[in-house]
Amino acid sequence: MRDVAVVGFEQSPCVRREQNRNEVEVLVPVLRALREQTGVAGADCDFICSGSSDYLAGQSFAFVSGLDAVGAWPPVSESHVEMDGAWALYEAWVKIQMGQAETALVYGFGKPSMGDLPMTMALQLDPYCVMPLWPDAISMAGLQARHCLDAGVLTEREMAAAAARDRRHAMQNSNAQLRWDRSVDEILAEPYLANPLRKSDCAPISDGASAILLAAGDRAREICERPAWIRGIEHICEPIDLGVRDLGRSRSTQIAAEKAGVGSGKIDVAELSAPFTHQEILVERALGLSLDSSSQTVVNPSGGALAGNPLMAVGLSRIGECASRIFSGEADRGVAHATSGPCLQQNLICVLEGE
């Protein structure tokens, strides 16, 4: 395995609606800031990979215009995933492992505010038997949460505690969208949005973009004083049919975490991309993170997806938030999580370490 590291990270603020700027106009300043941070222009990278969704943009091949922000002339080596940018990072990591690149630019961007996001998400479901019922994403998550409660896996109070913790952490993150300090009891007093989910149990709808620069070996050390080395990265997918999955735990997260080596050392920081509180708890448990306050792991210091949820960039941002704490020396070892599909169907785990 080659040593590959995250050597730069930038993101736009997460906002409920980018009223005037289009996706590319949101992306351009992010890539410019990354260039200034690292001294490496996107077009000079050996490989470029992006994550976005034409369903969010409402037009086919919308991702192609994203290359306007890169400056793709003369032609560049480039690829795209119709997934969160965390999976674009995985592809770029593979490309570097294969010896076909030393540096790679990875970015994710999305403007879910243009459509009706919970309904748009229905289009990722089984197209024959489930999608025609148009189950919206919040109702689907509500069914999963109800199962977790009924099976005694977790409690509404634990969910409210996760909601409170992430938004309180986000008060230190100027890029977060939901930043507040409310008690668990205040949250439990909220009406249900999709029983048993309250509004505070749900991630916001956010527009935004983020970008990461990857580099191998000594090139990484040239670019960044303290690179965040990728010591393990894995993604595992479960079946799309909810009826054949154990919704009370995240088995794919657990397997990915084992393969990525999460448990082989202490974890200073964990950045999780679960868009609902009960899912965040399931992911925490699958990662083997202790939930009590004596734990050494700081979970979601940025606020996580529950404080800012720019779809197609939110998972990549978790890797970036984790890496930036290694850049600064605040953390030595961390884990980042990204998710895709309904009810935590597919999960990616990335273990990062400083030297």
Partner: protein, 175 residues
């Protein structure tokens, strides 16, 4: 399998395979053209053709998407007023109807580079198919002013003007 089937309900109506499933999909979007395209569309609403200049190499993009796809720099707020005259760089004589083009066949699809611009505009030319040629000088024919909206359809079509053909060297990079 449903309970009714398990109870031995008459099999006949369940025996046939489902061979067709209709799933109408419709999503509504509240689309924003973006800062730069909005500026361009507000311009054309007033009959103005606004381009933007790349600060790196000075090339004028029309319409502008707000940043240079070659140098990845933003154009800022400055615009360049362009003429509605230009030069045909390539063309195609269309003899097949298309649902979204209400023109009589045959019509001529053209790539025009407007005077002062460095990128091409795709439009149609009102001319005899025998007369169209590369380097031909043309000018936009606009809808009546009261019908102008934020749309490039404010230009009905281009038509030839009485000017000598442009030099090949002036437009060869757009072919």
């Amino acid at each position: 399998m449903s309970d009714r089937q398990m109870d031995g309900d008459k099999p006949s109506e369940h025996d046939e395979d489902v061979t067709l499933l209709r799933v109408p999909v419709s999503l509504d979007y509240d689309y924003s053209a973006g800062v730069s395209a909005s500026r361009f569309l507000r311009g054309i609403e007033q009959g103005k053709l606004l381009g933007q200049r790349c600060p790196v190499d000075g090339r004028v993009y029309f319409p502008s998407r707000g940043s240079c796809p070659q140098h990845a720099v933003t154009f800022g707020d400055e615009t360049v007023d362009l003429s509605d005259k230009g030069t045909i760089v390539t063309f195609s004589i269309v003899r097949v109807p298309s649902a979204n083009i209400p023109l009589e066949l045959p019509y001529i699809a053209v790539n025009v580079v407007l005077d002062g611009a460095d990128t091409i505009l795709m439009h149609v030319l009102d001319a005899n198919p025998e007369d169209v040629h590369m380097g031909m000088r043309v000018q936009a024919v606009w809808k009546p002013r009261e019908e102008w909206t934020t749309s490039t359809a404010n230009i009905l079509y281009f038509r030839a003007i009485d000017e000598p053909d442009a030099d090949y060297d002036q437009y060869k990079e757009h072919i």
